[in-house]
Structures are given as C-alpha cells and as structure tokens.
Point group: C2
Chain length 287, copies 2
C-alpha cells in the first residue's frame, strides 16, 4: 500500500500563506487581482475557471473573468492583453490555451507582460525557470509537482528523478525545478529506447505524458515516489492519470491520486503567484 | 584505441558554410561584423580574441575589437554596449566574461540586444535554447559539442546522453540540444549520488565539470562517445580536459582530444552565429 500524496493538504497549506500575503497587501490598499482570459466556451476551461475564481475568493484575491467570443480577431485579443498589461489594478493574467486555431499562440504569449505572467507562458518566465534567475513565474502545473514533494518532505537532493515527457508546460520546467533541488534528472520521451530501464531505477518519477497507462507495473519499483500529472478519461468515462493506478500503487512507496493529486494544487499555485506578482509590482516584501 | 573526434575538421566544415554565407551577404553590400568587447588584459581573453579575429578574417567577417580599461565604470560599459546595439553595422557582440568584480554581470547581459547576442548570454537566447523557438543563439561551447556529434555522424536519437555539469554556459544548454536531438538526457552534478552508475550506462557523455580527472576509468564503458569540454591545466602545466585521457581513451569508442577538440570549434560557431545574425537582421535568407 503506497502512501497517497493527496493534493488537498498541499493546497491548503499554500492557501494559508497566500491568504496571509493577500491580507498584507490589502492592508496597504493593494487588492491582488487575477484576470482570467477565456476565448470561447470550452468545458475544461470553464471548469478550471470556476475553481480558480472560487479559490481567489477564499484567499482574498480578486478574480476578473474576461470572456471573449470564439471567433475573436487576433488583433482584438492582442488589444485585450495590452489593456490588461497597462491596467495597474491587474497583477496576474491567465490566458486559457490552447487558443482557437486562427490565433497565433506565439504572438499572444509574447504580448503578455512577463511580470503578470502568473502561469509561466512567456519566454521571460521560461528563461527564469531555465536560468534560476528568479524572474517571471514557473508554469503552475510544473510547480505543483514540486510543491507536493516539498510538502510531504520528499528530499530530492542526490536522488534520481525521471521525468516522462518534455513539454514546455510540464516536462521541461519540472525537470529544471528538480535539478534546482539537486536531483539527478533524466528526461524521457517518445524516442526513449528503453523506458522501463529508466523509470525502474528512479527514486522519483514524474509522469507527464498525457495518456492512459503510460506508467504501468513494468515501469516501477518498490519505494518510488510517483507524481502523476496526467488528466485523461478512461474507458468508464472517469478521470484517470498517466499511471495505471491499480497496478502501480501496490508496488511503489508513494503516489499522487488522480483526481485529487497534482490537479488540485495548480489553482493554489496560480493564486499564490498572483499575490507574489502583486507584491513584486508594488515593491512589497511579504513576510 | 578510441576514435579521436578532432575539432579541426568540424570547424573547417562550418567555416566553409560561414564563408559562403558571408559572401552572399557581401554581394548585398552587407559586411557581417562581430564586435569583441574585452575589459582588461586577461591572457585567456586575449588568446581567444586573437583566434576569433583570425577566424573572422578567413571567412569574410569583419572583427572589431573594443578594448576597455579594467577599471571602467559600469555605466560606461553599459553605454558601450548600448552604442553597439544601436550600430547597424555591427551584427554580433561577444562580451568576454567573467567581467571585473565591480561590474554587475546580470545588468550587462540584460543590456545586450538579443538579436546581436551571438554567444547566447541573454535571457532571450537562453529561453530560445530552452523552448526551441529558434530565437537568439545558443552559447557557442554548448553548440560546439553537438556540432562535433553531428559532424561525426553520432546519431543521438534514442541514445542515453549523460551531461556532467549544470552550468548555464554548457551543462544546461547542451542538455537541451541533446534533448532536441531526441536523446534521453540525464544531467549530473556535484550532488549526484553515484556518478559512475550514471556515466557507465550512457551512450554519450558530455564532461563539462571544469576540473582535471572528473572523468576517470571507473566512469566509462566500451563503445561510449565522450565529448570533453574541460579546459584545465595539469601538473605538467599543459592544457588538459575533464577526462583522464590516458585512462579513458583505451576504454571508450570515441573521444574528443584536449586541446584540439571542443575548444577548436567554438570560434567557428561564434563566427557562424555572426553571419546568421547579419542575415536575420537584414532579412536575408542564406542558401
């Protein structure tokens, strides 16, 4: 029986800190504010938005939903973003992606002010993650993985961490966060020759592949810690991670459930970033 | 007896391409120009500068040495860099580093125009390396490692690559370049628990530690390819790499010598970047 690394206590601890930070800002008449820019009516976006708005309210952060039509012109969307950049009362901006196909994602990302980029989509934020210079913000899901490790006292230093997946949203940034925690980090992907040989020898596995059963019994060993980033739908129509939970859980030492694991930490990170952004933009040092 | 992966043929092949590119630019009255900014009279800088200037001359690139006093004020150095940014006849800028201690390295790096950053020191270039977005330039030494692999037909796809060292100048960027070539990449460092266990199972080892005998017989296996980035001075006062060459060479399949390996490719990459920068800045597509 593996230890279940649930997200809720991690999120709760983060929220306490965020709430304290938000209240310090409000004492200075600064209302930390997150704008959520949604184009169209994607169910998953709406679901995430609802959670984020609720989370904001609970910790003293103002949420401002900006909902735009699916067929919005690129220039009009750019204008919305530039307005949010200019608006001193907005400290963080989350843009739901992927955007509709007629929108040039790279141009939109480049338009966002790096200091308001609380979900780590700009080059400035990604450079910060890569160089460790402290600028910008890490993509929330990637950071959630290490927040879970930190919360449950999993010391990464000197450990072997294997990251499955090399996306800019998770695989690449989480590998840098693990490296910053002094893990020996291996990045695996579709072209990896012998995946089980890599994952079986890891102390920590981060599964960020994005399909069902990417991590099966043959990939794991006793004592490992598994962080499952996947959000997939299984044959029964239920949410499931990248790990074959029934097969993997009895073998490993600890694992995040799906749902209730990484996904339940991301909005807490997003809101924490918003408070940090508000503090930085107003030169307030949070205690 | 390992195959010796000498740098000279790699540099020669690169120089041919660079020369052809420079000549296409000159046909359009564009003289690709590299400014070398040196503060003080460090021997190693002068040595590298001399090599770079000579290399520029051989391929049709103009080199402009900007030599500044060791005690130059930070603001004066910033002004020099901003002048080079503005100067349309300068396409690439190399700043010798480390800079004297009274200069804030981060401010200098941030001041350089990313499009002229031919040695990959700006956040824009490092973001480009991390995201693979094609912006900026990779640090020359890191790119030299993969130029050698490419030149000698070492296919990285699916191979295990182990990078020793996680510096922003070599370890981190070369790990991204190897990942982009579809290697399964492990980054090791001082906190790695069992280094020989990592390196022995690699197909490709990049040693970028910066001290003598960081890679010894116990770290290697038959058939491996070793790229030695180290430039150290041994007990006899001679230049030596990170590998204990006498011990490692008889075991592995291929290895770069020091001197005559990675170091002899870097200026060729630098000059190639300058021609690419000149082409980009003038919207010329080189054939």
């Amino acid at each position: 029986m593996a230890e279940l690394l649930k997200g809720a206590p991690v999120a709760a601890a983060l929220n306490e800190k965020t709430k304290a930070g938000a209240s310090q800002l409000r004492e200075r008449s600064i209302v930390p504010t997150l704008a959520l820019v949604r184009v169209g009516e994607n169910d998953a976006d709406i679901y995430y938005e609802r959670g984020a708005v609720k989370r904001c309210g609970a910790v003293g952060v103002e949420a401002r939903s900006v909902v735009l039509p699916e067929d919005i012109a690129q220039e009009a969307l750019l204008e919305v973003i530039e307005e949010l950049n200019r608006d001193g009362s907005v400290h963080g901006v989350l843009i739901f992606r992927p955007l509709p196909k007629h929108i040039d994602d790279a141009r939109i990302r480049a338009a966002l002010s790096p200091e308001k980029d609380v979900d780590g989509i700009t080059d400035g934020s990604l450079a910060g993650v890569f160089t460790g210079n402290g600028h910008g913000f890490c993509p929330c899901t990637a950071q959630s993985c290490v927040e879970i490790l930190d919360h449950y006292g999993v010391d990464c230093a000197g450990k072997r961490a294997v990251v499955m997946g090399r996306s800019l949203v998770i695989g690449k940034p989480v590998s840098q966060l693990l490296l910053a925690r002094n893990a020996t980090v291996t990045v695996c992907h579709t072209r990896t020759r012998d995946l089980p040989a890599e994952t079986k020898r890891a102390d920590i596995i981060v599964a960020a592949v994005g399909h069902l059963n990417a991590l099966e019994k043959q990939h794991v060993s006793p004592g490992q810690t598994v962080i499952d980033v996947g959000i997939n739908t299984n044959a029964e129509g239920k949410m499931a991670g990248d790990a074959d939970f029934e097969a993997v859980e009895p073998v490993v030492g600890a694992i995040t459930p799906v749902p209730g694991g990484v996904g339940s930490v991301t909005t807490a990170v997003l809101v924490a970033h918003t408070v940090q952004a508000a503090a930085r933009q107003n030169n307030v040092m949070l205690t």
